[in-house]
């Protein structure tokens, strides 16, 4: 999309790799593992996004209506993407995803269902996704975030993202997982 994108020179990591199991700050046993492509996991994710609080949408995603949620999920759950789901039993509590941008780099996004926010799940979801991406040979990852979303920006900075673009509505942040090939 934008081959002029900048990335940090310093390599971040290493990061944990999925599967990851932990007890969150509310005492719930959470397991993060790659999306297995099954209908059951797809439906659990669709359910999570249908329940998603509209106030927590960012830049139009997740979309508001179920039909649009499914169209969107079909795109980001495709074979060339990398997806992790955080499970509380059979409930999808969170989701992180890497989508190829056509320039050998990947766009990252992360979503945590309202009831599961501020419990440490987001940090594990993003770190294990970066570990997963690195193990799959991804060198560089970027994202955009609304500049007022301080909680998200802090989380991204904590794991090693740097601001690489600040001249438009959204901040662009990027991280390097490995040296260029």
């Amino acid at each position: 999309m934008n081959s002029e994108r900048r990335f940090p020179e310093t390599v971040s990591g290493p990061f944990e790799q999925p599967p990851v199991r932990f007890t969150d700050r509310e005492g719930r046993d959470i397991e993060i593992r790659p999306y297995d492509g099954s209908e059951a996991e797809y439906e659990a994710l669709a359910e999570m996004y249908v329940e998603f609080d509209p106030a927590d949408r960012a830049q139009g995603i997740p979309p508001g209506r179920e039909s649009r949620v499914r169209t969107w999920l079909d795109g980001i759950l495709a074979d060339d993407c990398y997806n992790l789901i955080a499970w509380d039993g059979d409930t999808a509590a969170g989701h992180s995803t890497l989508v190829p941008d056509g320039d050998d780099d990947y766009e990252l996004a992360i979503f945590v269902l309202q009831d599961y926010q501020e419990a440490g799940i987001g940090t594990h979801l993003i770190e294990s996704l970066l570990g997963y991406g690195h193990s799959e040979g991804i060198n560089c990852v970027w994202l955009t975030v609304e500049r007022w979303n301080h909680a998200a920006v802090s989380l991204y900075e904590k794991v090693g993202f740097e601001t690489t673009g600040a001249e438009s509505f959204e901040l662009e942040m990027a991280i390097r997982l490995a040296e260029d090939d």
Binding site: G60, I61, P63, I76, V99, E107, L108, S168, E170
Partner: protein, 120 residues
């Protein structure tokens, strides 16, 4: 109403350009399409998309080419030539599906004294 449509955002697809022009035509009495692109190569394909859209939907509009910074040029044209509204494609998305607002759109939204419509 006198409406100025700006096309030429780097990420706008032909479909987005068509949608934007048709949307503007619905509310305008007088329509001007400003083709904004510093590069001649993309300028030609942009112009082809604009011409095809105007022909296909039988829309009467004048077209012109804008050089320099598209955002400030559009705002300046709207102000000095008495346009009532600026219409731009505003639904570009990242690979993830996130809506992204490019620099031209941001400049126009923040600096125009007319109404600005972003078409999705």
């Amino acid at each position: 109403m006198n409406v100025l449509v700006g096309v030429g955002s780097p990420n706008a697809s032909p479909a987005a350009i068509e949608r934007t022009i048709r949307r503007a035509a619905r509310v305008s009495d007088e329509l001007t399409v400003a083709i904004c692109s510093p590069e001649t190569a993309t300028d030609e394909s942009l112009e082809a998309t604009v011409t095809a859209t105007l022909d296909d939907y039988d829309i009467a509009a004048s077209t012109r080419h804008v050089e320099g910074q598209p955002g400030s040029e559009l705002v300046d044209i709207a102000e000095t030539e008495g346009f009532d509204e600026i219409v731009l494609a505003g639904g570009q998305t990242s690979p993830m599906g996130k809506i992204t607002i490019d620099k031209t759109v941001e400049f126009v939204v923040l600096n125009a004294h007319t109404t600005v419509t972003l078409v999705r």
